[in-house]
């Protein structure tokens, strides 16, 4: 009996501790996550952290020039450091490949229509194009952000990261000549695409590393972002071209783990070099120093599976179809490849000579 009493007392104690934990948790959850900039623990000055009743002329009552406002906290000496956040974005925007916020944010107009429909509008980007500064929360930097129009529906709040990217990187009337319509590249009606908008078309992707599988999806910022893995995240700036997070050599180069570091983050190097996906990968990459980009396009291919788009600086097509896909890793190519100072013909004679399967 005593034993039971004892047990029930300790049980009661445990129950009351659990009850306290439950109440505390519920209270915390009910409070919800505070938008970071409205949280006085992180931004002790509140509204006045950015706005003054008598602010800078030509700005929204900001205390410093609009283009510098974010860097008051998000700069190298910014107060963001004081709260332990990785927030020195100003230094990231000084990297060679960047969203040119500091140079072009002055062209931003609040409420502007995106994608841009006036070809004369200067191409520009401001922090506010991607971020709703009153709504962002820790871990949710795009909370409340606008998204790309889908059909005739104007999607006011983005539910996927790519919708935010497409605001400027799709059918903008002021796209620079070298930029393509990225939304078209990732279109799910394409023959192949990296799985940004939907799972990929191919069910056979043997090189994928954990946790990725053929049904996985990725985001733009899985490839595009800060090359400093310990710095502020997100596609703000990088030392690598195309603002890529890791190295992605596009010239004829000796293969190594670092050469195609970006690709190898998801596609296992060993698997690729052991020809698990394509039986001549090793020969192309290791022996001939052909970069991934000589045959593959990173975003999507309208007509070819497996992200094949032959790079014309390497491959001159023959009169025949240049590429004949295969489901088993044995495609055929009909072209002349300029590599290693030689022209390597991939033609019927080449294949019948059993140099190739």
């Amino acid at each position: 009996m005593n034993g039971w009493t004892c047990r029930s007392e300790s049980g009661r104690r445990i129950l009351s501790v659990l009850a306290v934990i439950a109440v505390v948790s519920i209270t915390v959850l009910a409070e919800g996550v505070m938008p970071t900039h409205l949280d006085k623990i992180k931004n002790p000055s509140g509204c006045a952290g950015c706005h003054k009743g008598h602010g800078k002329k030509g700005t929204m009552m900001l205390s410093v020039d609009k283009k510098d406002t974010c860097f008051v906290c998000h700069g190298p000496g910014g107060s963001g450091k004081a709260v332990g956040a990785k927030t020195d974005l100003q230094s990231v925007f000084n990297k060679r490949y960047r969203h040119p916020v500091m140079e072009t944010s002055a062209y931003h107009v609040s409420g502007e229509e995106l994608p841009e429909n006036n070809p004369a509008t200067p191409r520009h980007v401001a922090c506010q194009d991607c971020h709703k500064v009153h709504e962002t929360e820790a871990g949710l930097p795009l909370k409340g952000s606008r998204g790309h129009k889908i059909g005739s529906v104007k999607r006011e709040v983005a539910t996927e990261e790519y919708e935010v990217c497409y605001l400027c990187h799709s059918e903008s009337a002021n796209l620079p000549a070298r930029s393509g319509n990225v939304a078209e590249e990732f279109d799910v009606s394409n023959s192949s695409y990296h799985p940004v908008e939907a799972r990929g078309r191919s069910s056979r992707v043997p090189s994928l590393t954990q946790p990725y599988a053929a049904a996985s999806r990725i985001t733009c910022s899985d490839c595009h972002g800060n090359n400093d893995a310990f710095g502020p995240k997100g596609p703000h700036g990088s030392d690598y071209e195309f603002m890529l997070k890791k190295q992605y050599i596009m010239n004829e180069t000796a293969e190594g783990p670092a050469t195609y570091d970006l690709c190898y983050s998801c596609h296992n190097r060993q698997s690729i070099l052991q020809n698990e996906s394509f039986q001549k990968h090793n020969e192309h990459i290791v022996y001939f120093h052909a970069p991934c980009s000589s045959c593959h396009t990173p975003h999507g291919s309208r007509s070819n599976p497996n992200l094949i788009e032959l790079n014309t600086s390497f491959a001159a097509p023959s009169p025949m179809p240049s590429y004949v896909p295969s489901n088993s890793g044995r495609p055929l190519c009909f072209l002349t490849c300029h590599i290693g100072g030689k022209d390597v013909a991939h033609d019927n004679a080449f294949y019948t000579a059993k140099k190739w399967p």
Partner: protein, 266 residues
């Protein structure tokens, strides 16, 4: 000075003394400027004040702004010479792209009174009536000149919070539409949910018929409030305060509300 005007001046002085000693205005009598729970008031421009711009010898406190006779109709017993400057205001849609109306230009109501010193165009000591005369009181630092330094707003009012704009239910409705389209996060409350002290007289009409009340300098600042130096006469703590609504500043959320918070926005 005639005996009559001397009598009037003395009576006004007594009135001022009564106000101060009872703590209704500056909370401190002249010469005793350490307020309980407050601080010295920079708007005491008399020789007994603490402002570096205070008068060289003038002892009357009210006279810089108020006079019982010959006062201007622009404000309550208004004594300070008014500005005739031309102003630049944020014209709609203005710098922000979300501004819905153009404020009055020049500003009216209380803002006009504030600007009579703070636009920096009228001598700080220039009054309609002191001892029956229009004159300019000699001030420290600026003498017979205009206010100088950081307290001068100037005549370009863009970049400052709008003043002389009506606060109306329709403004809340139109701002709600901007909330819906994701243009803004902060709405303007309906007038009924804004404290009376913040709603100041203005002839600006957002939608007819106007409510006659809106934003003026005095919506945020109470020029008579005793405050620690540097706290800018704010009606509510502007910085470092914790208020109910999303932890934002009490001053701002007296009139503004988070778009999603329909209870206080309606």
């Amino acid at each position: 000075m005639t005996s009559k005007t001397r009598y009037i001046a003395a009576a006004f002085g007594v009135l001022c003394w009564m106000l101060f000693s009872s703590g209704h205005v500056f909370a401190d009598g002249p010469g005793n400027l350490t307020a309980v729970g407050g601080g010295p008031n920079k708007h005491n421009l008399s020789v007994s004040g603490v402002s570096q711009y205070r008068a060289v010898s003038e002892t009357e406190i009210c006279v810089f702004c108020h006079t019982p006779h010959r006062s201007l109709k622009a404000g309550p017993l208004w004594n300070h010479n008014l500005s005739t400057a031309g102003y630049v205001v944020s014209s709609a849609p203005g710098a922000s792209g979300t501004q819905l109306t153009e404020p009055l230009n020049p500003p009216d109501g209380d803002s006009r009174l504030c600007l009579s010193c703070h636009d920096g165009t009228v001598p700080l000591g220039a009054v309609q009536n002191l001892g029956g005369q229009s004159l300019t009181i000699n001030m420290r630092l600026v003498g017979m000149g205009q206010l100088a330094g950081p307290s001068v707003i100037g005549t370009n009012l863009s970049g400052h919070h709008l003043v002389s704009v009506e606060i109306s239910p329709q403004l809340n409705t139109d701002k709600s539409a901007q909330c819906q389209s994701g243009l803004i996060n902060w709405n303007v409350k309906v007038p009924a949910n804004i404290p009376e002290a913040y709603k100041r007289a203005t002839s600006h009409v957002y939608t007819a018929p106007g409510t006659g009340k809106g934003v003026q300098c005095t919506s945020c600042h109470d020029p008579h409030l005793d405050n620690p130096l540097g706290s800018a006469f704010l009606r509510a703590p502007g910085v470092g305060s914790w208020s109910g609504e999303r932890f934002a500043d009490a001053l701002c959320v007296s009139c503004h509300c988070w778009c999603d918070t329909t209870t206080s926005c309606q």
